[in-house]
Symmetry: C2
Subunit: 339 residues, 2 copies
């Protein structure tokens, strides 16, 4: 068991902010990223919370992310917002876009935010949750460097490309929050096994020859297995169309890796849609959603997507979050200019 230290969500946000600024991130950008870090820890997803802050800082320092980039916001049509993240973090671009997206979606009934030239956006569901908290149904897509091959081929063409949907209850709490990638498993799991010299289960990945492999090193040269075979490839392509083609961002097949310091900015993209559910449903949405959730609760053992995160968040708001001590030491060293 790794040693941990329990921090409040405010302490997490402040520490992340200070480290990111010390590493050369513009304060407005660091604020959006630090807030998402605290929310990700609150959701119980420690792999993408404080543990990522040292990587973010390193990526500012090596130029994979432009720390002082200022997002450029455009409104090409009444229902559309387009943001050039200028090779900075996705978070400030999303934040600037959401400021316009929410009132626009209420006014128009539906509005979209297309972001290009951005870095990865962390946990996608953190952003769709924010749309739901504004009382709107939120859908999000984000693309990633290629790691899944098309059906019938061996070479990767699309990323593990997640989508997310968050459906707000009457109080704007996301009572269903789906956030899933197109692959059987996260690529980071295979990288972890590779570092640890452990085999991977069959079904996670394919080698460069297109055949299943249990060797993580061979898997990393090959491709990730799509979840549900060709249907997983379909999801990855759906996301690629939305997050890259529809935004004018870099396709996964041409994007530099998110991991490591080489290759410069990945310049990938995100696409978000916000919809006023009361307007589309003639006022029936809240009732329908509550019924759907109640029906699931009635089925013994049924898992409701998003409930795990909601429960972790309730706990975190009350008692803070246990964060890995070694991670905290790293982040504090960056904050104090000692890294």
């Amino acid at each position: 068991m790794a040693e941990t230290e329990t921090l409040s969500l405010d302490e997490i946000e402040t520490l992340a902010f200070d480290a990111l600024v010390a590493a050369g991130t513009r304060p407005e950008s660091a604020r959006a990223l630090a807030k998402a870090t605290a929310e990700t820890e609150a959701d119980g997803i420690s792999s993408h919370g404080m543990a990522y802050v040292p990587i973010y800082c390193e990526h500012v320092q090596c130029g994979k992310v432009v720390g002082d980039a200022v997002p450029v916001v455009d409104r090409p049509k009444p229902g559309l917002i387009r943001v050039d993240a200028a090779n900075g973090f996705a978070h400030p671009a999303i934040s600037a876009g959401f400021d316009l997206l929410f009132p626009l979606a209420r006014e128009q009934g539906i509005a979209a935010l297309a972001i290009h030239n951005s870095y990865n956006c962390g946990v996608l569901g953190v952003h769709t949750r924010a749309i739901a908290e504004a009382g709107l149904l939120g859908i999000g897509f984000t693309n990633a460097p290629a790691s899944i091959a098309p059906v019938g081929a061996r070479q990767p063409i699309v990323g593990t490309n997640p989508f997310s949907i968050a459906a707000p209850d009457a109080n704007g709490a996301p009572s269903i929050l789906i956030d899933q990638s197109a692959s059987v498993i996260a690529k980071s799991e295979i990288m972890k096994r590779s570092r640890e010299g452990l085999p991977i289960p069959e079904g996670w990945a394919l080698g460069p020859d297109g055949q299943p492999t249990t060797d993580p090193a061979i898997a990393l040269k090959g491709s990730m297995a799509p979840s549900g075979g060709y249907k997983g490839v379909g999801i990855a392509l759906l996301v690629e169309l939305m997050a890259a083609a529809m935004t004018g961002a870099t396709l996964g097949v041409h994007a530099s890796p998110f991991s490591g310091t080489a290759g410069g900015p990945p310049a990938t993209g995100q696409f978000f849609i916000a919809i006023d559910p009361a307007a589309t449903s003639g006022g029936q949405f809240t009732d329908r959603l509550a019924t759907l959730v109640a029906e699931m609760r009635d089925r013994p053992g049924a898992h409701i997507p998003g409930e795990g995160r909601a429960s972790a968040r309730r706990k975190a708001l009350k008692g803070g979050v246990a964060v890995n001590s070694a991670t905290l030491a790293k982040v504090r060293a960056i904050r104090d200019g000692q890294a």
Copy 2:
């Protein structure tokens, strides 16, 4: 090999129209349905083309569909169209909605069409293709009576719920068209095996005890296996949120079956989103899409979703479509008032 007769697409449309009207369908509604029948045959999906016309006619006659229903169109917000299909066919509701959706999406950049109280819409990709042919990116969702259980439970709660996305090239041809359900296999395949007394492969379905089964009769009392496990359930829930909760339609868990004559109108729903890709991408969409398709073509053996349908369509436009003779005899008998 079943005997077939080759018909032109116009002949298919005319025959379907005449039979539907003879069975009591309002001409405007029959027109939309007959057009989709011809397009479905052109796409090479014979299971959902002319073969469905006798079922449509039977469903008008038994009251599962209201043949003379007139869709009621509303525009609750500048970017939204809402249609009450009035328990008639989905096709005329979609058609009436699309007439407004396309100009609206061009003007607003994004627009949505929410349909409730409708029957099933046949092949979803026929409708998203129409959005793409208008030069817009089209996304569609349609829900169905419950047949997939939530993760951890045994009783079905959501349908095999497909989604579809169609991405237009520079000429409005859908160069990528994805159209996939949330289950490993279509429920109709299991019904077919049940009628034929044949076993089903393991992995297609689960019995009422939640355990895998190869007996189609047991499978029909249980649930359909979601594609990719919990991720397939996630897709089915995404579609349920969009097509039922967001439209105010009947949830899959409360909807009457699409098959058979019992239970009255299913009153399910559809949701379509149309987006101007040139506006969201700063003019980059056409190039990005062409590059994505070209990269797939470069990968030996790669399957590009939608290419099969496009190739079938080219053939059909030139040489017509071979339709099962027994099906044609049934449809002609309905047309001639002899069924």
